[in-house]
Amino acid sequence: MNEKTRNFLVNRFQAYYSQAEIHLPPEHISREWGFISFSDSSETFMKRHIAFGSEGEITDYLKGMGPSHSYYSVAYYEYPSAPKMKEKNWQKADLIFDIDSDHLPGKMNSYAEMLENGKKETFKLMEFLLDDFGFAEKDVHIVFSGGRGYHCHITDPSVLHLESPERREIVDYVSAKGIDIERILSTREVSGDAGRESAQMMVFPSGTEGGWRGRINRYFVSFMKDIVAMDKAEEVLMGFKGVGEKTARKIIEVFENEAQVEVLKGGNIDVLSGLNKKVINTLIEEGIKKMSAVVDEPVTADVKRLIRLPGSLHGGSGLKVMSLDINELEKFEPLRDAVVFGDRLVMSKVIKPFAVQMKGKDIEVEQGEQELPEYVAVHLMCRGVAEYG
C-alpha cells in the first residue's frame, strides 16, 4: 500500500466516523482499547492499553485517527490503561464466540459463499445459546466481523465471572466435544419371556429430554421420517448395512404410523429392532456433526481478548463491523448491508484482476488504471489489490 492510498483510506475512514453510529459496549470506560492504523511501516502493530473516559472521547479518537482496525477488550478492568496486564486488575469479561468461516469444513468457492456458511453456523450456535443455555435474546449480540465471520457477545451477568476452563466447557458443549455416545445409546439386558434367552434392549433418549440427548432423538426421528417420505425410501433404507426388504418395509410402516412415531419420540426404539445398532450409531454420529457449531475455542477461552468494535470499519475489507438482531440475521447480506461507501468514482490502479459480489452486483475488475465506484475501490485497496490514483 503506497502513501497516497494510505492517505485516501484514512480520509475515507475519518469521513465515515464523522457520521457513524458506534455501538459502545456496556461499561465502556472499564475496557481496554486497541487500534491499528494504516501505517507506512511494513510491520503492523497495535496501539493498545488505551482507555477512554467518555463516549465523546471514543468518537473523537475514531474521527481524528481513522484507524484501520478498532478493538476493545472483552474484559472489564479497574485500570484498563495500565501498561501491564497484571496491573489492570481484571474484574469480569463478556462471553464471546467467534465463528471464522475460514475454519469451517468443506470447500468454499467464493467470499460470498464463505460468509453464507458462517451465517449458517451462527444460526446453529444461536439455537444452543437460546434453547439449551437459556440466554435471553436481548443479552445475545450477533456481530458481523467485517471480515470472514461472525462474533457473538453475551453480556448476561451470570456468565461474566466464568474463568477460562469454564468457558471451554461451553465451547465443548456447542461443538459436541467429549460427547459420550456410548452412554447415550447404551444397551440394557432385559430378562426374556419364558423359554427365551435374555435379550438386549437399546436405551435411547427421549425427544423431550434436555441437552444433546433430546436433540439426538429429535434429529434421528426427523432424519428417518425424511427418508421414509422419499420416493425410493425402500431402496435408501436397504442401502443401510443389514437392512433387507422386509426390515425396510417394516421401518416405513413404523414411520407412517403417527402413534408409533410418538413412541419413538418418547425414547423407545424397540419397534426399529431391525435396524442394526451400528447403523443407528453411525447415523447419530453424523447427526452430531451436522448439529454442532464450529467456534474458535481460544477466542472464547481468552478472558482478556480484544474484539472488534461494532460500528467500526474492518481495515482489511473496508466493510462495517455490524451489530445484528437475531431476526435480522436471516436477511442480512454482508456484501450488501455492511458496505458503507458510495458510488462516487475514484481513480484506481488495479494490481491484478479481481472478482467480488458487492451491493448485489457481480463485479469483475481488470488489471490497470480505471475509475471505480468508491465502495469497490475502498474494498480493493483494503485487500491490497489496488492503489489510489
Binding site: G134, Y173, G211
Partner: protein, 353 residues
C-alpha cells in the same frame, strides 16, 4: 442451623461466625487445659487426613460438650496446617475434610444439602427427585472433574438449568468445600502462635515426612528411582502430591524419566494426579519430548536447573556432576560395583553432558 451441624460442617460461613461469637481467644484455644480435647482432636484431624479419611463423630442430643470440642478442633487443625505451611499437606488436608463431608452429605435431607449449597452461592431447586442448578454454577463446580460424564455436553440441560442427582450434587459440593478450604490456607499465623503449637506440630511433621519419603521412592520396575538426583525425587514427590510443577521443571522431569527408560505410559500415569491433568495434551507433550517429531530431548544441565530455580537439595554427589543424568549413571554404576569392586571408586571419568 443446629450446633451439631455446625460442628460437622465447620467450614460454612455460619460456623465460623458462631465460633467467633463464642469469644474464645486464640491463646485460650492453644493454652487452656479445658481445650485439651479440642487440640487433640485437631491434631487427630490432620493425622487422619494424612493417612486417609477424617472420621466424623456421631452426636447424641446431650453431647453439647462433644459438639463444642469438635467445632473448636477445626480452627486448631487449620492453625497447625498453616504453621507447617507445606503445600502437599494443605492439599491433602483440604481434600480429606471435603471427602468426609461428602460422605455425610449423602444421607442428609435435601433441604440441608440445599442450604450447604447456598453457602457456596449455588442456588439449588429440588423437584421430582432431581436437583436443578444453573449451568454456570454447574461448570464452576464440575470443571475440575475429569471424567467424561461430568462434562456439560453429557448433561441434561434445558434453558440453562442442569438436572443432577443428590449423589452428584454431594460430589460437586465436595469440590467446592475442598476449594474453599485449600484456598483459605495457609492462614496468616504469627511465629509466636506456631511456637506455642510446636509439640503438636512435630507429631504431624514426622508423619508428613514419612509419607513424603514413601512418595519419592516409587516402584518403577526396571527404573531405579533410588538412584535419582534429589531435584528429580523432589519434583516427583510434588507431582504425586498433586502440586503443579513449573513448566521448566515439568520438562526437566519428563525428559529425565524418558532418558532413564521410563515408558511413556508410566509417565502419563504419574502426571495423572496433577490438578490440571489433560490426558491428550499430556500424551502429546510427553511423546513430543521423547522424540516423536524427530528431535529427542535431554534434560537441562545442572546449571540450567539452577538458573530456573529447579535445583533442589543438592547432595555430595551433585557437587561432582554437571548433569542430572550423570548423577543417575554414576549412582547406578556405583551401586553395581559396590560389592565387586574395592574402595577405589572411579569418580574420575569426565562428564560430557
Amino acid at each position: 442451623m443446629e450446633e451439631r451441624y455446625l460442628a460437622l460442617y465447620p467450614f460454612i460461613t455460619e460456623a465460623s461466625a458462631y465460633v467467633s461469637g463464642l469469644g474464645f481467644s486464640l491463646e485460650r484455644l492453644i493454652t487452656s487445659r479445658a481445650m485439651d480435647p479440642a487440640r487433640s482432636r485437631g491434631v487427630e484431624r490432620v493425622l487422619q487426613a494424612l493417612k486417609g479419611d477424617i472420621e466424623k463423630p456421631q452426636f447424641l442430643a446431650s453431647d453439647d460438650r462433644k459438639v463444642l470440642i469438635e467445632l473448636l478442633s477445626y480452627p486448631f487443625s487449620r492453625i497447625l496446617v498453616s504453621c507447617i505451611g507445606d503445600n502437599f499437606l494443605i492439599r491433602r488436608y483440604a481434600l480429606a475434610e471435603a471427602v468426609s463431608c461428602y460422605k455425610l452429605l449423602h444421607s442428609e435431607p435435601y433441604e440441608f444439602i440445599c442450604s450447604i449449597a447456598s453457602d457456596f452461592h449455588v442456588d439449588v431447586l429440588f423437584s421430582d427427585h432431581l436437583f436443578d442448578i444453573h449451568f454456570t454454577d454447574y461448570i464452576r463446580l464440575a470443571s475440575s472433574m475429569k471424567a467424561l460424564e461430568w462434562k456439560l455436553v453429557n448433561r441434561k440441560m434445558q434453558k440453562g438449568h442442569v438436572y443432577i442427582s443428590k449423589e452428584e450434587l454431594a460430589r460437586l459440593l465436595q469440590e467446592a468445600i475442598r476449594d474453599r478450604i485449600q484456598g483459605s490456607l495457609p492462614l496468616d499465623v504469627s511465629e509466636d502462635i506456631c511456637q506455642m503449637c510446636a509439640p503438636y506440630i512435630s507429631q504431624i511433621q514426622t508423619e508428613l515426612q514419612q509419607i513424603k519419603e514413601n512418595f519419592g521412592s516409587g516402584d518403577f520396575g526396571a527404573v531405579e528411582s533410588s538412584m535419582f538426583p534429589p531435584c528429580m525425587v523432589h519434583a516427583m514427590a510434588n507431582v504425586r502430591a498433586g502440586v503443579n510443577l513449573a513448566h521448566s521443571m515439568r520438562f526437566a522431569l519428563t525428559s529425565f524419566l524418558l532418558n532413564v527408560g521410563m515408558p511413556v505410559d508410566d509417565i502419563i500415569a504419574m502426571f495423572n494426579v496433577s490438578p490440571d491433568f489433560d490426558l491428550e495434551r499430556t500424551r502429546y507433550q510427553i511423546e513430543h519430548i521423547s522424540g516423536s517429531s524427530g528431535t529427542s530431548y535431554k534434560p537441562p544441565s545442572c546449571s540450567t536447573m539452577r538458573t530456573y530455580g529447579n535445583c533442589y537439595g543438592a547432595d555430595e554427589l551433585c557437587s561432582r556432576i554437571k548433569h542430572p543424568l550423570s548423577y543417575y549413571r554414576r549412582k547406578t554404576w556405583f551401586n553395581r560395583h559396590k560389592h565387586e569392586a574395592s574402595q577405589q571408586l572411579p569418580f574420575s571419568e569426565k562428564d560430557n553432558e
